[in-house]
């Protein structure tokens, strides 16, 4: 890369435009990546935090809690499967109005029995086993909600005190509120609950689960597959993936177009190098090396600025989150897009005739 490096250094101005475009794409990709991860976390972190492997929904529910209603006999079928722990889970969205005034809360309410394997901490178990009340996600504490505050659950007359806070996460962009299953049933169905709940969560085992599902008319899916039921989850991840893919395609095209023009401009220079005895490989290494250096530098700058933007955004209410892994993914994807985009351009290098160095018709 004897020539490539000197060319970059001394012709910095001609590369500045492309560098800026790549840096901007990298910036945008980083922020979008942060937003995508953040949205996923905001959508399903509450579900992800629960210690289960599989989940059984009513047939046709499509992993959506509001479409799934199961009864205790379904739970018993799963409890009979050897090696499997099963727990009912009631899940619904509820609007909670504070009794003594203040902002209303949108909550993703998870109802579980106090002795469920889902409740792992002793203090949480004790809190749920006692008088009915809410165990809220800790982010609500930061918003000023206090232990002892009382809320009326929308759609019912049930009034509940805040019992405490835990790391609960969010579901469908709403903070989680844990209540005991019978409390959830009272809020959801009033006095006519009949033991109903939304789904059965399962831990451990594998053999016999399918048969139990057949007997109960349920569909058992993996924990990860159940994320798709979170409101907006599929749409959000699809949109983000689409935008990021477009960005990659755009940067591949921009880089490809730039290096095509550059290669055409350099036709005579390439002919000269060939006349000097440089092989196609030598010239290709030079060109690809130059592109890789440029893309790597510009990407580094863009990702660095993007990380800063995500950091600033994360102080506000935007759901952003950036891991070293997603930074690496963004960077590698851009470099790969650059190489893919410039392949067409570099193919021209091999087609340049050395004779043009002498100004002769090739």
């Amino acid at each position: 890369m004897f020539l490539a490096i000197r060319d970059l250094r001394r012709g910095a101005r001609r590369f500045a435009l492309l560098g800026s475009v790549i840096a901007l794409v990298a910036l945008l990709s980083t922020v979008l990546s942060g937003l995508a991860t953040g949205l996923v976390t905001d959508g399903i972190s509450g579900l992800r935090a629960l210690p289960f492997d599989r989940i059984a929904f009513q047939k046709g529910a499509d992993a959506t809690f509001s479409r799934s209603t199961l009864r205790p006999d379904a739970l018993r079928q799963f409890e009979k499967v050897p090696g499997v722990e099963a727990s009912p889970l009631g899940a619904s969205f509820v609007n909670a109005a504070p009794v003594n005034g203040g902002p209303r809360l949108d909550l993703a309410m998870f109802g579980i029995p106090a002795d469920s394997f889902l409740v792992q901490r002793e203090d949480a178990r004790a809190a749920l086993a006692g008088k009915p009340g809410l165990v809220l996600g800790e982010e609500l504490q930061k918003q000023g909600v206090k232990v002892g505050d009382r809320y009326v659950m929308g759609g019912s007359n049930v009034e509940l005190p805040v019992l405490g806070f835990t790391f609960a996460g969010t579901y469908g962009h709403a903070p989680i509120a844990f209540v005991r299953l019978d409390t959830w049933q009272r809020i959801q169905y009033g006095s006519d609950a009949d033991g109903r709940f939304s789904a059965v969560v399962l831990s451990g085992g594998s053999r016999g689960i399918g048969e139990a599902a057949d007997r109960t008319g349920t569909v058992v899916i993996s924990k990860e597959a159940s994320y798709a039921g979170s409101p907006g989850f599929t749409a959000e991840t699809t949109t983000m993936t689409l935008i990021r893919s477009f960005l990659l395609v755009i940067s591949a095209l921009v880089i490809g177009a730039f290096f095509t023009v550059l290669t055409v401009q350099r036709t005579r220079q390439i002919g000269l190098l060939k006349a000097m005895g440089a092989s196609n490989g030598y010239i290709l290494r030079d060109g690809i090396g130059q592109m890789a250096i440029l893309v790597a530098l510009a990407t580094a700058v863009g990702v660095a600025i993007g990380t800063g933007v995500v950091e600033i955004l994360s102080r506000g209410s935007a759901p952003v989150e950036l891991s070293p892994r997603s930074i690496a993914t963004v960077s590698l994807a851009l470099v790969a897009a650059g190489i893919a985009g410039s392949l067409v351009a570099f193919r021209r290098i091999t087609q340049v005739e050395p004779a043009i160095a002498l100004g002769a018709e090739a």
Binding site: A275, M276, S279, E353, P354, A357, L358, G359, E361
Partner: protein
């Protein structure tokens, strides 16, 4: 004109010498370009031998095919027929990769407009030749410095082509050709864009390539200066070479 290199009768060539010893040997070379529906024959059964240490100048009308002759002799294009041997190696049957290697190891060019790489300094124009040849960078730099020094350009070594005068650029171009330690140096009107003083300096350098470096030097010239220093002057006419200064297209007679 269907002569192929394999069937060429070497004894029939006018110089009567074998291809094995000459630095550059063209035998029955034919190049034709499509010209509308017709074919325009530019080089027609052309023979030429240039020995190491010999300076041959080719003159001719514009469009006579002088540049075509240089591109063929420098292995930049394959002739339509005939054989070109460089340092004893017949090249017609070789792959493009191998021809590129022979160019790298045996052939260097000096162009009318110097043809320097715009983003390299004077010394780097020479160093890149070493880099292409796989030379260690310290070795290449030392050789480049020595050559520039010999060309009186040591003080200009860090200048870019745009900062050099036309004469300086041409001397850097010649330095670059020397850097390749070639068997053959091919120069395409190297003095055409220079004033008489600078032109004379360039001709002296080309002459020294033949005399001091034992390089077979083939020069195409429009003006008088190079011809005056040549061992032989040949005129390219109707696709063939004709001796002008009485020595004939035969064995070298040094002046």
């Amino acid at each position: 004109m269907t002569t192929t290199p394999n069937t060429l009768d070497r004894n029939s060539n006018p110089t009567g010498r074998s291809a094995g010893t000459a630095a550059l040997d063209l035998r029955g070379v034919r190049v034709a370009y499509p010209d509308g529906p017709d074919l325009r024959v530019v080089l027609d059964d052309l023979d030429l031998t240039v020995e190491r240490g010999e300076m041959v100048v080719i003159v001719g009308e514009s469009g006579a095919g002088k540049s075509t002759l240089l591109t063929a002799a420098g292995l930049l294009r394959r002739p339509d027929a005939g054989e070109i041997s460089v340092a004893g190696t017949a090249t017609s049957v070789l792959s493009e990769r191998r021809r590129t290697q022979i160019r790298r190891d045996h052939v260097a060019f000096v162009y009318q407009s110097a043809n320097l790489l715009p983003t390299l300094t004077a010394i780097e124009q020479l160093e890149i030749v070493g880099h292409i040849r796989g030379e260690r960078s310290a070795v290449a730099r030392a050789r480049a410095m020595e050559l520039l020094d010999g060309l009186g350009l040591a003080g200009r070594k860090d200048q870019l082509p745009a900062q050099l005068s036309g004469g300086e650029r041409q001397r850097v171009g010649i330095g670059r050709a020397f850097m390749a330690e070639p068997t053959i140096l091919i120069a395409d009107e190297p003095t055409a864009s220079l004033d008489p003083d600078r032109s004379r300096a360039v001709v002296e350098l080309l002459r020294s390539a033949a005399d001091d470096r034992d390089i077979a030097t083939l020069v195409v010239a429009h003006d008088e200066a190079p011809a005056a220093a040549a061992d032989r002057v040949l005129r390219l006419e109707a696709g063939r070479l004709r001796a002008l200064n009485g020595t004939g297209a035969g064995p070298t007679v040094k002046m």
